[in-house]
Symmetry: C2
Subunit: 499 residues, 2 copies
């Protein structure tokens, strides 16, 4: 096969892959937002068949030859084509280790598990979800053993979300977070601030929907290319730069819960929306790892969205939509309110200070789960024990405990560490950005374009074209350093709580 | 090939067909409701590839042999399998006449046309939509010529929506409607009633959303199996009996516009929701023709939803959601208000009396379009001329004229007559139903289950298992008789307007 033949066939493979992935993504988004509850059976049949087509398309001798041919030409090939082959080869290798029946059964299992998890969470019924999770863990262990028998299963799975992540690097990372942050968390808890009166009001959901639109506009998200849906557990899904979906979940008693979901998912969306045109409809159109993706979402959510400078534009929008509820609220009071720190139950609603310890608990549980040291039956007990030990809170039920997150239901074991890594990457990116951008002047003006422009330049535009090792050092100004992250948190909360 | 082999392969064909159809349906629903405006390009790529797979799956010698084998066995085969082969053979024959490239280009064209039509309608810009429509008409004419060269193109197309519909039967049908109804319409127009004060209020959309839920509940639609979305032009799409979607469009100045869309689409939904379990995930899972489908939607919308008996339960729900707006409104006033008859511009908002003449205008225009007697450029002029001549109204712009309906954009030329036929079928079904069901007592109690039960028994349960000729005579108590339909309208409006 010549290079030119291989490149032609690569285009055919990508055309099919794009179409199948697009369809699978829309089925998933639809299932998680507006589809009727009982729709999961029919959707499972559709996803299973689309999965079978994806597998057949990818795992066959011709695809293997196409990829080998392009990769063998190395420097003779253009950068984009070479990298497309490289990224597709990773998918090829992942699929190749599984028989088709197992690959298809996995699509059906995770589709079913999504429906079961939603119901189990609503009923706070761990036993209901257990059998699905047992099958998911078994399937993931089997996959890990086939993929890289020489490595621990959990390392194999984490690598799917963050290239090169391993327990060897994450154990000390989380140890630093715990050691450095636990004393601050204790001090902050001792100086607990009361919840301000303005937060104890009703914030009608219809108003919150309008508020969301204004937040997206402030973030620079074009509604022609990105819409907002409603779901149980917020997520982002981008098919291409002209079709990105974000989601949120409204609570009438708290406008900030949804708002920070919107800004978080909006950060993911901006990554997908800013990828170069020539990478669209190829496997390079999306973010390169989940860790880097989460660095973008957590960047907007916290580093920008919970900054002092952001309180000016935020209060302005809040006043427009909720004039009664905001009354005489000042920027300073708002800044304090959106940064109340207190050990709590729900990861997605946690303050910045305690957030990474929520992630650490999941990391430890997944590690034990994969190593065979923790059965599914024992997860709730262990979860509750760790929340007591690490955060000092009592978990009242599994809905607010080990059933809160959707990740295990879609098979995303090994995903969680990306949130903590992303948070840490983000702080280092901010420090680097501050060297050349007047970040806080711009944010205070309500103009996020210099921030997004910098991130687009260094990260977004490349999609998956550049490897993490090519993107991160330049964007972070050096290697990962948990101390920069904990230093940021200690300084911020030291000032907020006069420690 | 043995019968048993053929049946096994039929199951495989249907499995693939279901999955592809499910995916295409969800992409379409998503595109028409929540997807960002610019998403159409990526969706087009996905739909084109799924179309290609559908074609390859269906048009190949093995599928042909499977279908021939089963059909050749006739009575030896069970009823469901035989009918599945028969219905698939129709799809096979339709696809077979087109080369794959044309079939795929059609998916892309109608996807693009949907996006262009929405934009053109918003701008009231016929020229913007013209090139798409020209290509659609050319493709449909070519298809009709390949499918049945001996028949007029318009007959071939109408047959796709209503088996056996032809100009030979529809010309006299519409002539009767026009001749019988025109004098009544003129008399009613002469006795025009003023719009009652209660209708000149604001009906907040958030309240209308709650109202929709209550209307669906009254109609007996289980939200676990059917959800309501929002769109430009309301439609229903059912993947299986556990996954049906209906849509509406809200206007703050008028709660009845959306309400009658909900009841209309709810009628379609009930048909899909009530099909037998053993027909699910086969090509028999949906309604057998669009004419019969529209008979169900128009049955609930008008025969039930605009009846005197329905005003009791309707007023009760209206009062629950809009206590201020309904004030001292009586059932009698409500009955008069929901049956105001007046020649108007918009088909979907038309009263029962004038409705079929809106359809007739589209029928005449499509006929001329397909015969080559009317160019796309001349459609607005002809449309406006006919609205003036038939209904006596001046069309102020194409948004409220020939751009109002979505049908041509999805290629549905020949669909419109189904609305008028369905309306006529429905009245004959009602007359038959009244022989054994206490329709109006039940409706007045707010209990639609005897009505739906009868329709399920005679029509819904069969999906596409029985042919129209096996279903209709029993449900209608005889052949189509336009006089029954016009008789019903003349009596109802005679009483309402004291003619």
């Amino acid at each position: 096969m010549t290079l030119s033949e291989a490149t032609g066939k690569l285009n055919e493979i990508e055309k099919a892959a794009y179409a199948l992935e697009h369809a699978q993504a829309v089925l998933a988004i639809d299932g998680d937002t507006v589809a009727p509850k009982n729709s999961w059976k029919g959707r499972g049949k559709a996803l299973a068949y689309l999965g079978e087509l994806t597998y057949r398309q990818m795992v066959n001798p011709e695809t293997g030859e196409v990829l080998e041919t392009i990769l063998a030409h190395g420097k003779d090939t253009d950068e984009v084509t070479f990298r497309r082959a490289e990224v597709l080869k990773e998918s090829y290798d992942s699929m190749h280790v599984l028989p088709m029946e197992e690959f298809v059964a996995w699509q059906e299992l995770t589709n079913e598990a999504g429906a079961v998890w939603r119901e189990a969470k609503a009923r706070s019924d761990w036993a209901m979800f257990s059998s699905c999770l047992e099958r998911i863990i078994a399937a993931r262990r089997r996959y890990a053993a086939l993929k890289a028998p020489e490595k621990p299963a959990y390392d194999v799975l984490m690598d799917e979300y963050e290239k090169g992540a391993s327990m060897e690097t994450l154990d000390p990372f989380f140890r630093t977070l715990r050691d450095e942050l636990s004393p601050v968390i204790r001090e902050v808890a001792a100086r607990e601030k009361p919840v301000p009166g303005f937060l104890k009001q009703v914030w009608p959901i219809e108003g919150q929907r309008v508020f969301s639109e204004k937040i997206m506009a402030l973030q620079g998200i074009d509604p022609l290319n990105c819409t907002l849906g409603e779901t149980e557990h917020p997520f982002t899904n981008g098919m291409n730069k002209w079709d990105v979906r974000i989601t949120t979940h409204y609570h009438a008693e708290d406008p900030f819960d949804s708002m920070y979901s919107v800004i978080h998912e909006g950060g993911h969306a901006l990554y997908d929306l800013n990828v170069r045109d020539d990478l669209q409809f190829t496997c390079l159109h999306g973010g390169v790892t989940m860790g880097i993706h989460e660095s973008q979402s957590r960047f907007y959510e916290n580093l920008i969205g919970r900054s002092r400078a952001f309180c000016g534009p935020l209060l302005k929008i809040l006043r427009e939509v909720f004039p009664e509820q905001t009354g005489s609220l000042t920027e300073e009071e708002l800044y304090s309110a959106i940064n109340l720190a207190k050990p709590s139950l729900i990861r997605t609603e946690a303050d910045e200070l305690t957030y990474s310890l929520h992630v650490m608990i999941r990391y430890e549980i997944e590690k034990a789960m994969l190593a065979g040291d923790l059965t599914v039956k024992d997860i709730p007990g262990e979860w509750n024990r760790m929340y007591r030990e690490v955060l000092g809170v009592e978990v009242p039920d599994d809905r607010r405990g080990c059933l809160q997150d959707c990740h295990w239901s879609f098979g995303g074991i090994g995903y969680f560490p990306s949130y903590a890594l992303g948070s840490a990457y983000g702080v280092q990116m901010l420090r680097e950005m501050e060297k050349t951008v007047h970040v806080w002047d711009a944010v205070a003006r309500g103009d996020l374009s210099p921030v997004t422009g910098w991130l687009k330049e260094r990260i977004h535009q490349y999609g998956s074209l550049k490897k993490p090792c090519e993107i991160l050092p330049a964007a972070m100004g050096g290697p990962l350093d948990a101390g920069v992250y904990t230093g940021y948190l200690k300084k911020k909360y030291g000032e907020l709580y006069h420690l």
